[in-house]
Structure formats: structure tokens, C-alpha cells
């Protein structure tokens, strides 16, 4: 059972609890509790002096009073324990957010340990450094970091799998906060500190010293718990208002938001390849919505896609050009459905590891059955000498490339695991190792420049080359160019379809082998250089 803990510690500009600010007669916390209570139990933690006020506003919710920050952390642990160690979502009680955005971390389909992250330089949030989708360093009122590449937007989810570890780390954090408050504290909460919001008019945000979400995040990250960065869908309303005006603005933004549109756009993967982004996702999202409304599951769509792939292979196997055209059309259709299943899963928020496995295995299955169809077609048409060898070589090369990619990704995760662990009581973060800093494409230009400066200081040539390549990522054309060069699945299926119709099966395999070979040399070469740089 998931448990949600809301922190009502931040005061409004007038001095009362910010979460009790009202717009149109509805206090912030009442709406938030209503949004969250659909999928789990909610507890509000507040200062003892505010307990009564908060209780009156949220009569159906458990309200717990605390005396200090350490006390609050211990309450979080206790609440988590009460829920039997299930998933825990930690947020500030004066958060105004639309359902879709909140669902990203809080709904039943969310899993694992993650924090809501925004782009580097976003107005509100605490700086974090993100590598490969993992938060590897986080700032708080007591902790600074170098080379921030994003911000944590103050909602954190702790997965049930790390419950016991999380309790140990939070206990340590509570003791640290007790010590700090006894010794006078070095978090003076001036608002401009390293862990706080950028200096603003104070109309929205969280008082840095009360930002326990940031502190818990630091404790988890430095304790070696893998925390992934969850990005909000574009156009989300996400605000922590501290004045009536800021609240009104946030509620107005929410009223004018077309959440259905946002949900559909958010179903499309952000980092897909060129062909997929421009020639498939533009319409496949509507198929996904249609499938969702008709009640189809992602796994059903995946299976139909595989079936179409087999039909395409049979069409190619006939061995005439007209049937090759039919095969090409069927293959494109199969590929579109292959995008639809993922979009449907994201749209309807139905994820499963079986679905992910089925999707991956059927992707390969479709491709390799089509190779076989092309080989049979060429043999039936009477020009099949050596075609099985070519088909086998194409299969071997493609599998080799995938396993190489997956091995690299696996190794990076292992390296990140080893790099993040640091003591909680130390203020400064160790900073990124070079290895850790390279892989994540920087989300903002500013951090690319920061990186370049580091690269220039270290004069070794391979490192400088990597620096240039990373800078090139910031330029649109080059970024798309790089994505096409590596021949991702969308481009590959398009290549197979077009060449099969235009020049026949043999040319398909030659094209796959030549292009695939160049792509392998390009990717693997760069990675070997990075590994030894």
C-alpha cells in the first residue's frame, strides 16, 4: 500500500501555514489530499502550533504535529513503517499540481525510487546532478554540489524495495539534523543559499531550512540508493505558492490547461530517433488514444505488431516486386504499432516487465523474420546465391551491436553506483568523475559550457575530442545527424522497406551490413576512447 506524507512546514508570506492559503474557498492542502488519496493513504506533518488549523481543514486526514526537523524525519519513518514499508511519496503540502504531473510519481503505475526533476536553471527547486537518468548528487540547505544539471522539484518517491535501507539513512539524517539544531545550525534559511530557490520575490517556493524533501533526497543519493529522475510532462502546472496571488495564478493556469492534450503529447518518448519522431509519432499517438478508448492493452498491440511483421516476411518471401511492396507497407504498419504499444502504455499508464520483455523480443523477432523472408524471396526468384550467408551476417551484426550497446549501458550503471556514495555530514559533494560526467547529454547549454571549461583544463586530446562532440550535441542538425548515423530501428525498418522495393533483397543486406558496420565503428570507437580517456 502506497503512503503519501505531506510536509506542512513552510509558512505563507503572512505567517500562517502556506498550505492553508485559499482560492475560491478551497485550501491548497485540501485539493492536494483529494488528488493523492485516490491511490493511497495520506498523512500531513506540521508544526505543533499549526496542528489544530490543519486538522480543521483536513478532517478526514491524519495530521501529526512535530517540534523539529529531526522530529519530522522520524515521523516520516514512523508513517512509512505504519504503511507496512510500501511505497512512500514525500511532498510539500502547499504544492499545486495538475493530476497528470502529480501522477508521474504518485499514481499506482509509478514504481521504484524517483524524484521529480526539472531542467537546469528552472525557477524553483534544489540543484541536482543527473547522469543517465539517475540523480547522482543533490543539494540541500546543508549540502552543496558541483556541475548541477537539473533541479529537484520537491516531490520524492521511495520505492518499497529500498524500505529498510531508507529507514537507516533517514535515521542518520534525523540525528544529523538534531545535532545541527543543537549547535545553532548553519542553515540560516536566507533563501539565497545553495540549496534554496534563486532569489525571488518569495511569492512561491519552500523555505530552504524546511525543505526536507531535498534533505531526504541527499540522504538517499549519498547512501547509494538508486534514485531516478522523473521529468514532468511539458506544460505541467507545478508550483509551491506562498501568497494568495501566486496561488490564484497557479489555479488559473491549471484551469486553462488541456490535460487530455498534454497526456497525449506526454505519451510520446522524448528522445526517439529522427524517423520515429517525424514520420511515426506524429500520428501514432492518435492510434494509441483510439486503442486506449477501445480498451486494448499494450501487450495486445505488441502481439498484433509481431503478427504484421510475420505477414510482411511472408509477403517478402513471395519474391516478386509487387509482393515486396506489400511487405514494405506491412512492415511499416508493424513498426507504427510497435511505437503505439509504448505510447499506449504511457498514455494509459499500464507498465509491466513482461510487456517490456515482449516488446524487446518481438522487435528483434520481427526484424529477423523479415530478413528470412527476404532471403527466401530472393531464392525463389532465382538469384539467391549466398543470400542466407548475407542474411545471417546481417543478423549477427545487428545482434552484436545491440549487445554492445546494452553492455555499455550496464557498465555505466555499475560505475554510477560506485561513484555516488558519500558521507551525509560533509557539506561539499565530491564532484563528478570524468566518467560519470560524460554520458548524459547536457539538458541545458549552460552546463555544456561548464563542461567545456573542465575539458579545456585537462589537456589530453581524447578528452578534448569528447568535449567537442558534446558541444556538437547542442546543435540541432548535428544531434539528429548523430542519431541517424547509428541506424536506430525506425531508420533501419525504413531502409529495409525502401531498398527491398527499389533494389531487391541482396541490396537490403548489403546496405544493412555497410551502414551497420560504419555505425558500429563510430559508436564503439567513441566509447572505447571514453573508457580509456
Amino acid at each position: 500500500m502506497a503512503h503519501r506524507v505531506l510536509l506542512a512546514l513552510t509558512s505563507s508570506s503572512e505567517g500562517g501555514p502556506a498550505c492553508l492559503l485559499e482560492h475560491a474557498g478551497e485550501p491548497i492542502v485540501a485539493r492536494l489530499v483529494e488528488q493523492l488519496a485516490r491511490d493511497g493513504e495520506v498523512t500531513v506533518l506540521t508544526w505543533e502550533r499549526w496542528t489544530e488549523e490543519v486538522r480543521v481543514t483536513c478532517p478526514a486526514t491524519r495530521v501529526v504535529g512535530v517540534r523539529s526537523h529531526g522530529d519530522a524525519i522520524r515521523s516520516v519513518i514512523a508513517q512509512h513503517g505504519r504503511s507496512g514499508g510500501g511505497d512512500l511519496v514525500l511532498a510539500h503540502a502547499h504544492l499545486v499540481a495538475n493530476d497528470l504531473a502529480l501522477g508521474r510519481v504518485a499514481d499506482a503505475a509509478a514504481s521504484g525510487t524517483s524524484a521529480v526533476a526539472g531542467p537546469h536553471g528552472a525557477a524553483h527547486g534544489t540543484p541536482v546532478r543527473i547522469t543517465r537518468g539517475r540523480i547522482v548528487a543533490a543539494a540541500s540547505p546543508h549540502h552543496t554540489i558541483e556541475h548541477a544539471s537539473g533541479v529537484c522539484q520537491r516531490v520524492l518517491r521511495v520505492g518499497s524495495g529500498v524500505g529498510i535501507r531508507a529507514h537507516e539513512l533517514l535515521t542518520e539524517l534525523a540525528e544529523l539534523l538534531d545535532d545541527r539544531s543543537r549547535s545553532g545550525g548553519d542553515a540560516d534559511g536566507d533563501g539565497g543559499g545553495p540549496g534554496g530557490d534563486r532569489p525571488g520575490d518569495g511569492s512561491a517556493g519552500v523555505d530552504p531550512k524546511d525543505d526536507l524533501v531535498a534533505l531526504v533526497l541527499v540522504a538517499l543519493v549519498r547512501g547509494g540508493v538508486p534514485v531516478s529522475a522523473t521529468h514532468l510532462p511539458a506544460g505541467s502546472v507545478w508550483s509551491h505558492p506562498r501568497t494568495g496571488t501566486a496561488l490564484r495564478q497557479a489555479r488559473e493556469a491549471m484551469a486553462s490547461l488541456d490535460e487530455e492534450r498534454q497526456r497525449l503529447d506526454a505519451a510520446v518518448k522524448a528522445d526517439d530517433s529522427f524517423f520515429t519522431t517525424f514520420f511515426v509519432s506524429s500520428y501514432s499517438r492518435y492510434w494509441a488514444r483510439w486503442a486506449a478508448r477501445r480498451g486494448f492493452t499494450p501487450n495486445q498491440v505488441t502481439s498484433v505488431s509481431m503478427l504484421l511483421g510475420i505477414l510482411a516476411a511472408l509477403a517478402f518471401a513471395v519474391g516478386t516486386r509487387w509482393w515486396a511492396l506489400v511487405g514494405a507497407v506491412l512492415l511499416q504498419l508493424a513498426f507504427t504499432l510497435d511505437c503505439v504499444d509504448g505510447q499506449l502504455a504511457r498514455y494509459s499508464r499500464r507498465f509491466s516487465s513482461l510487456g517490456a520483455w515482449l516488446d524487446s523480443v518481438f522487435d528483434r523477432g520481427k526484424e529477423y523474420v523479415v530478413y528470412a523472408g527476404l532471403a527466401v524471396g530472393a531464392i525463389r526468384a532465382g538469384h539467391g546465391a549466398g543470400l542466407w550467408l548475407l542474411a545471417g551476417a546481417a543478423l549477427a551484426l545487428q545482434t552484436f551491436r545491440h549487445i554492445l550497446d546494452l553492455g555499455y549501458a550496464e557498465q555505466q550503471l555499475a560505475d554510477v553506483d560506485a561513484a555516488v556514495v558519500q558521507p551525509l555530514a560533509v557539506r561539499a559533494d565530491r564532484g563528478p568523475s570524468f566518467w560519470e560526467a560524460t554520458p548524459e547529454p547536457a539538458p541545458a547549454l549552460t552546463s555544456i559550457r561548464a563542461f567545456d571549461a573542465t575539458a579545456a583544463r585537462e589537456a589530453s586530446l581524447p578528452r578534448r575530442v569528447i568535449g567537442w562532440l558534446r558541444q556538437a550535441e547542442g546543435v540541432g542538425v548535428l544531434r539528429w545527424g548523430k542519431r541517424i548515423v547509428v541506424l536506430p530501428i525506425g531508420e533501419r525498418f525504413a531502409l529495409i522497406s525502401v531498398v527491398a522495393v527499389a533494389a531487391g533483397p541482396r541490396a537490403v543486406f548489403v546496405a544493412l551490413l555497410v551502414w551497420g558496420g560504419v555505425a558500429t565503428a563510430y559508436t564503439a570507437g567513441g566509447r572505447v576512447v571514453r573508457s580509456i580517456a
Partner: protein
């Protein structure tokens, strides 16, 4: 900062480094599971060979595949045997931590290349490669999605890369490579498919979580 906090923190750090160390080696173990060593390979103590494992394997793949591919110097199977022997020894290399990632892919290149060179182009060669590719993708995705690979018995029953290359090379030496691909395909396909499908439909906890 108070000293007591410092002291506690450094103790806690020691614990945590230990925990992270074991976690790190768990990931390293996962990377080792990608190799599909099976019954014969990886039996020797690692570190027996100097230098990064991937450098040895690259050399082995080159030695096993390049001369037969250009049709030079003697029968293909003898080159494949020589290259595979080097790979078997090289896979006991120290394994430079930063170059561990290409190792599984290089082992795939060696095996698939050996099948293609020794058995030549036929529908059964293609079938065998498809079966092996399925198994290797299955290993990778199971490790990624659930944090555990196929059971050990599957590796023992189906041999691992070293045994499979040995069988093909032995068959090629007596000019029976093509029927060998047929026999291997028909034996391996049900083992890999049935084991994988039963493991996926068996009820278990949703995800190992990452």
C-alpha cells in the same frame, strides 16, 4: 559541526561503502552473467592472463574469423579452433574494469562468426543464429528487467559459447557442419524457448527495481 556527528558519520560511511561495494560487485556479477559462459568457459581463475580481457577477445575474434573469411591458409575450422582457444584463455584475463562492457558482444561475434564461416549459408545456419540471438537477448533483457538471468542449469545443459563453438568446429573438421547446425537448432530452440516462456509466465514479484 559537532564532533559526535562527524564520528557517527564516518562510521556510517564505512558501512555504506561496504554496502555499496557489495552492490557494485552485484552489478559486476550481472555483467558476468551476460557472457553465457555455460559449462566450460570461465572455469579458470581470472587474472591468469595479463591485460584487459576485451583486448584478448578482440584479437581472438580477429584470429578466428579474418583468415578463413579471406580464404587463406588451411581449413577454416582450424583457425576457428585456434581463435576460440585464445578466447578461452583470454576470457580469464584480469578484465580491465573500464573495458568490461564489450566482452559479451565480442563473445557473440566469435560464436556467430564461427557458425557462419564453418557452416556456410543455409536456412539451418540462419535458424541456429536466430535461436542463439533469442537466447542472448533473453539473457540481457531478463537481467535488465528483473535483475536475474536464466538459471544455471540452462547454461550447463546448452553448453555455453565455448562448448557450442567446439561442437560446430568438430563437425566442420569432419565436414558435417551443416547437419550440425540443424541438430543444434532443433535441440537448443525448445530448451531456450520453453525455459524462457515458463519463467515469464510463472508468478513472481513484479520487478527487481532499478
Amino acid at each position: 559541526m559537532s564532533t559526535s556527528a562527524e564520528g557517527r558519520a564516518s562510521e556510517a560511511l564505512a558501512d555504506r561503502v561496504a554496502a555499496a561495494g557489495s552492490h557494485g560487485s552485484a552489478r559486476a556479477r550481472l555483467l558476468a552473467e551476460h557472457r553465457d559462459d555455460g559449462v566450460l568457459a570461465g572455469r579458470w581463475p581470472t587474472g591468469a592472463v595479463p591485460g584487459p580481457e576485451s583486448a584478448w577477445l578482440t584479437l581472438a575474434v580477429f584470429l578466428a574469423l579474418a583468415p578463413p573469411a579471406i580464404g587463406a591458409f588451411g581449413p577454416a575450422w582450424s583457425w576457428v579452433v585456434a581463435g576460440t582457444a585464445l578466447a578461452a584463455v583470454g576470457s580469464c584475463g584480469r578484465g580491465w574494469p573500464r573495458l568490461r562492457w564489450p566482452v559479451p558482444a565480442l563473445l557473440r561475434a566469435l560464436e556467430y562468426g564461427a557458425v557462419l564461416l564453418l557452416a556456410g549459408g543455409s536456412a539451418w545456419t540462419y535458424a541456429l543464429l536466430s535461436v542463439l540471438a533469442f537466447h542472448h537477448y533473453d539473457i540481457v533483457y531478463r537481467l535488465r528487467l528483473r535483475g536475474e538471468g536464466p538459471p544455471r542449469w540452462l547454461g550447463i545443459v546448452t553448453g555455453g559459447w565455448l562448448v557450442r563453438i567446439g561442437v560446430i568446429a568438430a563437425a566442420a573438421a569432419v565436414e558435417r557442419a551443416e547437419p550440425a547446425t540443424m541438430v543444434l537448432s532443433l535441440l537448443l530452440a525448445p530448451a531456450y524457448l520453453i525455459e524462457s516462456i515458463t519463467s515469464w509466465i510463472a508468478p513472481r514479484r513484479a520487478s527487481a527495481g532499478r
